[in-house]
Symmetry: C2
Subunit: 385 residues, 2 copies
């Protein structure tokens, strides 16, 4: 298994792109990544997407996008793992390059969500849960997360306000990210007073959806040193793990076992411990997920993840910076694209391109992308050489 | 890139499985393949599926199925390339095993189509075409293929009746396949008189959809010889290639360039020529696709594919046996599962388990799975050691 490196990255802003179609948004990110890599072409295109069949009536998104960007007569394919689709596509491309079957791949995470009403989008997002045993009972995706958060607060004695630092940090960091969906600082007071969505999750616990695409070009690592004068970004580790699809099937719904397993495998592969990481792009779809992820990945004891926020340890200057570009909460969560935004953002940090939210001397960064309520979790560690 | 072998196979019958859900059908094939492999578990599950978001309201099918069959706390993911999803999932799993990242994988192709009306299924299948520039004009998937067939007949001077041998062979072979959707012999006369679907494609040019799943377990080849006393089935070659998504964008819509490119790459990898193949499981969604595939893969000159049927060269005793278990035409076409049925059937031939339609001394077989109207084409060559 040969080492693989990221040669180029690209992304679009996350917004309601009413004037751009699915293929145009994906194309913008794809061409930006190719340009950044200094390549005109690659051997294969891997696309991560969740909702295009439901929202755009379009399947076969790999070939749909390869055709649009002029990458004809080569491999193209789509990978789907609900909101974990972006990182799942990255991992599939990684395997093909690592195996030596292809010499280069472009990975694009793309979601176009604003073409349907929010009612339709809510129903589409529920396809990440178990259609027979969860959705059939009328539960929405935010509803499932609300049940988990309620239980967590009850079990470990936290108040809703204790989750505020996660969202405050994300919004503060997004102020400096031109691609972010939201550019507005928030306070604890505003956090507590925002509209309830599904008790105890309110609007400022939840990440906004949107249209957007992020992309990266990967090649065998030995091909990079010769071509670029910026740090070489190696993929030091990749792992994917799963839990039951339905939350109610888990013995302990407050333990993200798939996060634990995939992170542990990544630490082993990279030969590091959690404390060695300079930053962690966490899947903060809801504040409760941030707490659970920090715990499962070894940054806090069970039930103590919230404390990291309260202790100010998650800011770019903290012990374990998270959501350094705004996270899902403020950069935005175009579901099937999110995993690629995370990987692109870690790469930006390792290149030292993050300005006001740059983590000093960042050399090792982790990105973790989640499909469903902890059902599919894909973790990557990137390393600057 | 280490060599990979197929250790076990499984499949369900293709039918309208009203009494079984999506997860149950997939589970049946998955557990059959594990049982056949003599394994209780594998490192990862790869699922090929096209329509579950649209027909069953279910995304994240990898984890959905891994949960159902008890493969908890390991990797699971779905791969989609329209009707090419089955082989695309197989190829993604192959890359991960070939890279050495995982030691074993279970690949399941699954489609559950009978839960919606045929009108809804027709609309769902159209998501394989270009939503903006084909479907928006009102063209259906069979309509696109009809345009291609009309042009072929005009260009090369064939009559509709000349395509009959493809369907007659498929139906004859399916008589001996207990998993096949259709068990009825047809004649030239019946072929010519069957109901028109989209001129010139009639009912007996077209493959029937259905519910079904097929699965295979793959492992590094060096692990197989020690475990089994049947022939070792190696994956000798794998390649995926694409064309424009819309048929009208192609300079020559009668040349399946992605079939040509992926087959050529496979011949190179396996170190063989077309004439060395003992059988070819072709993607005969419509008779016209059979003719075009045979030509693109090197078995006939341009415009002469139909002649192979007329010359009786495609039967199990012929020069290049195709559809030996009934093909899409008579075994059935549960779209996202079809690619895995083809791979399972080639493996059955190489094991010598095909009874009345066994190809004598079969050692090398090719399976070719197509997404869209020639847009994504994935080719595999299997070899018995």
């Amino acid at each position: 298994m040969q080492k693989v490196a990221i040669l180029g990255i690209g992304q679009t802003s996350i917004s309601e792109h009413w004037d751009e179609s699915l293929r145009e948004i994906a194309g913008d990110a794809a061409l930006a990544a190719l340009h950044d890599a200094g390549l005109e072409s690659v051997d294969a295109l891997y696309v991560g997407n969740m909702l295009s069949p439901l929202i755009s009536g379009q399947n076969q998104l790999g070939t749909f996008i390869s055709d649009w960007v002029g990458l004809w007569h080569r491999e193209a394919v789509k990978v789907e793992a609900a909101c974990g689709s972006g990182a799942a596509a990255f991992r599939a491309a990684l395997m093909a390059v690592a195996a030596g079957d292809i010499e280069s791949a472009l990975v694009v995470g793309i979601e176009k969500m604003s073409d349907k009403t929010s009612h339709e989008v809510t129903a589409s997002l529920a396809t990440a849960a178990d259609a027979d045993y969860e959705v059939e009972q009328g539960v929405s995706f935010v509803g499932l997360n609300a049940l988990v958060m309620q239980r967590y607060m009850h079990e470990f004695g936290w108040k809703h306000a204790d989750f505020a630092p996660f969202s405050i940090n994300a919004h503060a960091n997004a102020m400096h990210n031109p691609f972010a969906r939201l550019h507005q600082r928030i306070t604890s007071d505003k956090f507590e007073k925002s509209a309830m969505v599904a008790t105890p999750i309110n609007l400022l616990d939840a990440s906004p959806t949107g249209d957007g695409a992020a992309a990266a070009v990967i090649v065998p690592a030995h091909k990079v040193a010769l071509r670029q004068n910026r740090p070489r970004i190696e993929v030091a580790a990749s792992a994917s793990n799963t839990d039951t699809i339905a939350v109610h099937s888990r013995k302990d719904p407050l333990f993200l076992r798939a996060a634990y397993e995939s992170a542990r495998r990544c630490y082993e592969m990279a030969g590091i411990e959690p404390k060695d990481l300079d930053l962690f792009e966490v899947h903060d779809a809801f504040t409760i997920m941030t707490a659970l992820s920090l715990e499962a990945c070894g940054f806090a004891e069970r039930g103590r993840g919230v404390q990291l926020g309260l202790n100010n340890e998650i800011t770019p200057q903290g012990r374990i910076p998270i959501c350094t570009r705004g996270g899902l909460k403020a950069r935005g969560h175009p579901v099937g694209a999110t995993g690629m935004y995370q990987i692109v953002e870690v790469a930006q940090q390792l290149r030292g391109e993050c300005g006001e939210t740059q983590v000093d001397g960042a050399r090792l960064g982790m990105a973790q992308n989640i499909g469903g309520s902890g059902a599919t979790i894909i973790t990557h560690i990137l390393k600057a050489d």
